[in-house]
Symmetry: C2
Subunit: 338 residues, 2 copies
């Protein structure tokens, strides 16, 4: 199970997770896309040397991308512990993962440093504090690329300024059922927010999960960005909850049927694709949210949503599996967990 899922977030009936990440670069190195392998190694070493000074009550493990199997790289992405961008240039990139897996320091993704804090439920305060702690610590030892007018400098102009991206992953099956999601996305885009699939930019929405995040990093301060996003997430929570109540009132049997059929299928299928499994896990999560499914915890359902992904399922069974084998082993794993 991904460790970051442990713990008590708020509004878990709608908000799966809160993620805050900042982009930072060092003054005396070229941006990653211009960097040689030697330069990236020097940068990595400098960061590792700094990390020796962290307080003794926390500890990080260090992973070089090119030392991981392809399966493991993908599994870390599926767990949301690293970004897809980090494995694009394996010889340049690495990451430090805190033991509780709630914080990752990525080295040489698009920027020299991408620091993320990932927490279950809605939890911007703890997330923001966590990020600040790591950021303040690193800034004490490293020379950040910073411009008085623009703020933090980044490889891509969309991150310049605060370098901050805050996001919440929401589960909105009922807004999706009534066909409200597309409208919602258009509305958010107009106010500088982005809606993405579960694995970030360019990925498809699966399991009625959507990542809502700020688009703008320049011209607004951090607290303002977080406050604005939080307000929007509260609106989503209220709307989704309203539609759930309404559907339960008007179509109780249909909803229960949908949920229990998915539960039964997951409990008995002998072969299942990740796409189909996500659909049914989404229904089961809705069942949990509505108090209809009682024998499963949110963290169990969310772990399964990760564990059924192609990389994770191969890591669980400790070998490479072709498509057909994956579908079989996925069904087996789900049966063992439900």
């Amino acid at each position: 199970m991904a460790k970051w899922i442990e713990g008590n977030g708020q509004y878990k009936d709608v908000v799966v997770s809160t993620r805050i990440r900042i982009a930072r670069n060092l003054d005396n190195y070229r941006f990653p896309h211009k960097m040689s392998v030697e330069e990236s190694e020097r940068l990595t070493q400098e960061i590792l040397d700094v990390m020796k000074n962290i307080p003794s009550d926390v500890s990080y493990k260090f992973y070089k991308i090119n030392a991981l199997t392809l399966t493991d790289r993908i599994a870390y992405i599926e767990e949301h512990l690293i970004s897809p961008g980090l494995i694009q240039k394996p010889d340049h990139s690495s990451f430090l993962l805190r033991d509780d897996e709630k914080a990752t320091i990525m080295i040489n993704e698009e920027d020299h440093l991408r620091i993320q804090v990932l927490l279950p439920g809605l939890n911007f305060e703890e997330g923001w504090n966590g990020i600040n702690q790591i950021d303040d610590f690193l800034e004490g030892y490293l020379e950040y690329a910073y411009d008085d007018r623009f703020g933090y400098l980044t490889a891509c102009p969309t991150n310049v300024g605060t370098g901050l991206r805050v996001s919440a992953m929401v589960h909105i099956p009922c807004l999706s059922m009534i066909g409200h999601v597309d409208d919602m996305i258009r509305g958010f885009n107009k106010i500088g927010l982005t809606v993405r699939g579960i694995y970030g930019e360019g990925t498809e929405a699966a399991g009625d999960l959507y990542q809502i995040s700020n688009q703008v990093t320049l011209g607004e301060d951090e607290e303002e960005i977080i406050r604005k996003l939080k307000n929007v997430i509260y609106q989503i929570i209220n709307k989704e909850r309203y539609v759930r109540d309404d559907l339960l009132k008007k179509k109780r049997y249909e909803i229960e049927d949908k949920i229990f059929r998915s539960y039964g299928l997951l409990k008995y299928a002998r072969k299942i694709s990740s796409k189909e499994a996500m659909k049914h896990l989404s229904n089961v999560r809705l069942g949990k949210e509505m108090g209809i499914i009682k024998d499963m915890e949110f963290k169990q359902i969310e772990s399964l949503m990760i564990e059924i992904q192609p990389g994770s399922i191969q890591r669980i069974f400790k070998r490479e599996l072709d498509d057909n084998e994956r579908d079989i082993m996925r069904a087996k794993h789900i049966r063992e967990k439900i």
Copy 2:
């Protein structure tokens, strides 16, 4: 549970039931479609008087169609205890049902008497003996319409001669899966056999169940008719078994998946149509036949196939249900039984 399902028939992996029925008419009455209510009552009374002489070790209950609720009439049809034809003219028709429900004497269906014996599995011998016993008994007291050249006279010429229809209900999901059923039906038609859905003439096949019966009643003696049908049923048994083995060898996971998904759906659905339920019960029966489903008996599955029908489900819950309620109560009943 329909009582006739109890008992050990042969070849239950393919043959659900064996049914033998004979059509008989009395000499001194007009055929039912020409009969007045008074005349039909006189005929019924004559038969009831005869029935007082039956040996004391068997007993029959008498039911007048117009004394039954519509729900009960339909439920008796769904249990295969009476034919759909019997309820067409409720004021004329009635039936005597033996306590073990394996024999019915229908009065004023298309003919004055339609006598059927219904047994689980493949069991032409016991069926034929059972029919003969009843027929011999009745013939000892009643004047049958009989012609030396044509044999027994019947209302419809397709029954003249022996008045005999023997049929077996076969479950052939694998022949159906490989698309072999239409060819099979065409072949059987050429040799004087008829293939029908589960509720006889004009009904649709459901749950991969087909009734195979003789078409010809004239010019062949009874033993010959039975022998011929039995041979064909043996062929079907062999073919279906062969395809099952083959599919299990080549597509084990796909077959197991199909079976267990159906099992899971039936175990958890909160709303289900009879058509969908039949499809999944057919898959579960296949699972039992293949040794994949171990915690259900054939008679349980077959009872469910009857109990989920519209009339039976209303009888179980002792009240009239609209379509929507039926789907809900059907799902509830299935969950309680699986």
